[in-house]
């Protein structure tokens, strides 16, 4: 054949695939890559892995109030059985559920409403968005004090406003009342975090394709139909992440009940975390507190599984 200078160098090598390198080999080849993540992982290890290990260990022991670990006694599962058989556990769990579900639901709904109302361009939109975000930015400590003052039994502005509006005739004691305290705190929590849902959903809304909405409009869809059939499905990914984060955040709430009521009155605003705090720090029942914490880990890991799944959906296709 007449290829120039015998340069046809096609080689009839069968493409026998090389063996996939051993995981250790691959890790060794990628050793430089680990340097980039090492600081982050190291910090995480110190601040998370060790406490988890420690908590699990503690949950199987009775540890004296002074936390002298050398004197701890193995008690097996008795901390767990003690928790599950205590009526307080069920009361606190019920209150935690009410707290989490109501907070999440209303924060999400208000956040969604705000995101939708703010989606259109109008003068002052950025300012309004900023204003609505302020509760999310201020510290929960500040929020707790302000609301405590608003709810004040003698000089509270909320009672005064309701009186002025003719809805009540004497000040209500919102916080020091077992009937209303939990709901009063839930309102504070919603105030504090609805704008987190808002900002997430606003970001999500910007990814809804404009053309699709136009097409639906041309097809005669009403605003509600457009929202329900076009916008909302597009938000499902962000919504899942947002709701999960809200649930986790609410389940783990501490500051608002701790500062506003300390769990009272009569335990009516006690939720899991404040209860754990009370057991461990106020009553030095370290083993019980740790066992509670382990149960909480289990719940959180379940939620975490869904969270990571929702978060990384599309990640693989994006990272290629």
């Amino acid at each position: 054949m007449s290829t120039a200078q015998g340069q046809a160098i096609f080689r009839d090598v069968p493409a026998s695939p090389p063996k996939k390198p051993h995981i250790g080999q691959r890790a060794w080849q990628a050793r430089a890559d680990y340097l980039y993540v090492a600081p982050a992982i190291l910090v995480m290890l110190i601040v998370i892995a060790y406490p988890i290990y420690y908590t699990i260990e503690l949950s199987f022991f009775n540890t004296p109030a002074n936390l002298q670990l050398s004197q701890k006694q193995w008690t097996g599962l008795s901390n767990y059985t003690a928790i599950l058989s205590s009526p307080v556990f069920w009361k606190v769990t019920w209150q935690t559920l009410v707290w989490t579900v109501l907070s999440t639901f209303f924060a999400f709904v208000l956040g969604l409403g705000a995101a939708l109302s703010l989606h259109r361009e109008f003068v002052g939109r950025a300012f309004l968005r900023g204003l609505l975000l302020v509760p999310w930015v201020v510290s929960a400590v500040a929020a707790s004090y302000v609301w405590k003052w608003l709810y004040h039994s003698d000089f509270g502005a909320i009672s005064a406003m309701l009186t002025a509006a003719g809805l009540i005739d004497k000040p209500i004691n919102f916080v020091d009342n077992t009937q209303t305290s939990l709901y009063a705190l839930i309102v504070v929590n919603i105030w504090k975090e609805f704008s987190f849902a808002m900002i997430m959903l606003m970001a999500g809304l910007q990814t809804v394709p404009e053309q699709l909405l136009r097409a639906a409009q041309v097809d005669g869809a009403s605003p509600w139909q457009r929202f329900w059939h076009v916008t909302f499905p597009h938000l499902s990914g962000v919504s899942t992440v947002t709701v999960l984060l809200l649930v986790v955040q609410n389940f783990n709430s501490f500051i608002i009940p701790f500062i506003m009521t300390g769990g009272g009155p009569v335990g009516s605003t006690q939720i899991w975390i404040t209860h754990i705090y009370e057991l461990a720090f106020l009553r030095q029942r370290w083993g019980l507190g740790a066992a509670y914490a382990v149960l909480l880990f289990l719940i959180m890991m379940t939620l975490g599984y869904f969270y990571v799944r929702a978060l990384t959906r599309g990640d693989e296709s994006r990272a290629g």
Binding site: R26, A27, A30, D33, Y34, Y36, A40, I41, M44, I46, V47, I48, P51, T55, L67, G113, A114, S117, L118, A126, L128, L131, L132, L133, V134, P135, V137, V138, S139, V141, A142, A143, Y145, V146, W149, L150, F155, A160, W191, I199, A203, G204, T207, S222, L245, V248, N252, I255, I259, I273, A290, A293, L296, F297, M300, M301, Y307, V308, D315, A319
Partner: protein, 287 residues
């Protein structure tokens, strides 16, 4: 001109939107406004029912007291303020320094264990601060960090990291690798390619994660409450509480203090919020 039913329906939709926004705005602003109004009152004026909706004699006395370095209250407050500022700033700088390389590696490299580590980082947010108090306190004791700001910085770092890494990774995912390759061919080292080309493109993400870290550190209460027992170390959220428990009825003073405590983060956030929204949109939500 006659309105078609659809136009009217859209109007109805729009008006209910406005009504909703107005309600929400009232709900949001009312507590903050009340915080500010109360802070302008004297202790006596605050203790009235029905309250004075606007103080008859507004006074800045509560603020002067807090920022007067010659009074003991002012001394404490300013001290807490600088402690908070220092801890938050250090946390932010370190969080960015740690998050940037990690996010970059998670985006660009395919090392074994990458997914596991990435998920592990994201899972940080699942764990409430309270349940880690005891072990971390013991750990800090071992490390000799109790009653130092180091204990707080180390812990706070991990709050911001998951979001920071996630957001920044989103940014790096969207920056074509060819840009870095082009830079390297143009004569840049790997590091120059990163610092001169990639970093500037992720600025919104870096700003956003900085804000997030800063605000998180500034507002943190539980660890500061536990790790710091000496009052000259305390940060604002804890310090304010202490200050309040000593003057249990000084609501105007407390409101002035919470107001001052909120100012830095609110201003920071309002100025930079567009980066935050942009970072969420470009870095995280968009796939």
């Amino acid at each position: 001109m006659e309105q078609s039913p659809t136009t009217r329906r859209i109007d109805g939709w729009r008006w209910s939107g406005r009504l909703f926004l107005t309600f929400l705005l009232g709900f949001t602003v009312m507590p903050m406004a009340w915080m500010f109004i109360t802070s302008l009152k004297t202790g006596f004026a605050a203790m009235q029912y029905p309250p004075q909706w606007w103080p008859a004699e507004p006074t800045l006395e509560n603020y002067w007291r807090l920022i007067d370095p010659s009074s003991s209250v002012g001394q404490d407050f300013l001290h807490y303020f600088w402690n908070s500022m220092w801890v938050s700033t250090l946390t932010t700088v370190l969080a960015v320094a740690v998050a940037v390389p990690a996010a970059y590696a998670f985006s660009r490299f395919r090392f074994p264990g990458r997914n596991f580590l990435f998920f592990a980082v994201l899972l940080r947010n699942m764990f409430p601060a309270v349940v880690f108090l005891v072990p971390l306190f013991i750990l800090m004791k071992v490390l000799g960090l109790v009653n130092t700001h180091g204990s707080l910085v180390l812990t706070y770092l991990t709050f911001g990291l998951p979001l920071a890494i996630w957001l920044l990774k989103g940014f790096y995912d969207n920056i074509p690798i060819q840009l870095e390759q082009a830079a390297r061919i143009d004569g840049a080292t790997r590091f120059q390619a990163f610092f001169l080309i990639v970093m500037p493109l992720s600025t919104p993400g870096i700003i956003a994660t900085s804000i997030y870290s800063f605000i998180g550190a500034w507002n943190e209460y539980i660890y500061a409450y536990t790790f710091l027992t000496k009052h000259d170390q305390m940060t604002l959220p804890v310090g304010i509480q202490r200050f309040f428990s000593e003057n249990a009825t000084d609501w105007p003073g407390l409101m002035a203090a919470t107001f001052l405590m909120s100012v830095p983060v609110v201003v920071l956030f309002l100025v930079l919020q567009r980066y935050f929204v942009r970072a969420l949109t470009e870095g995280a939500v968009k796939h």
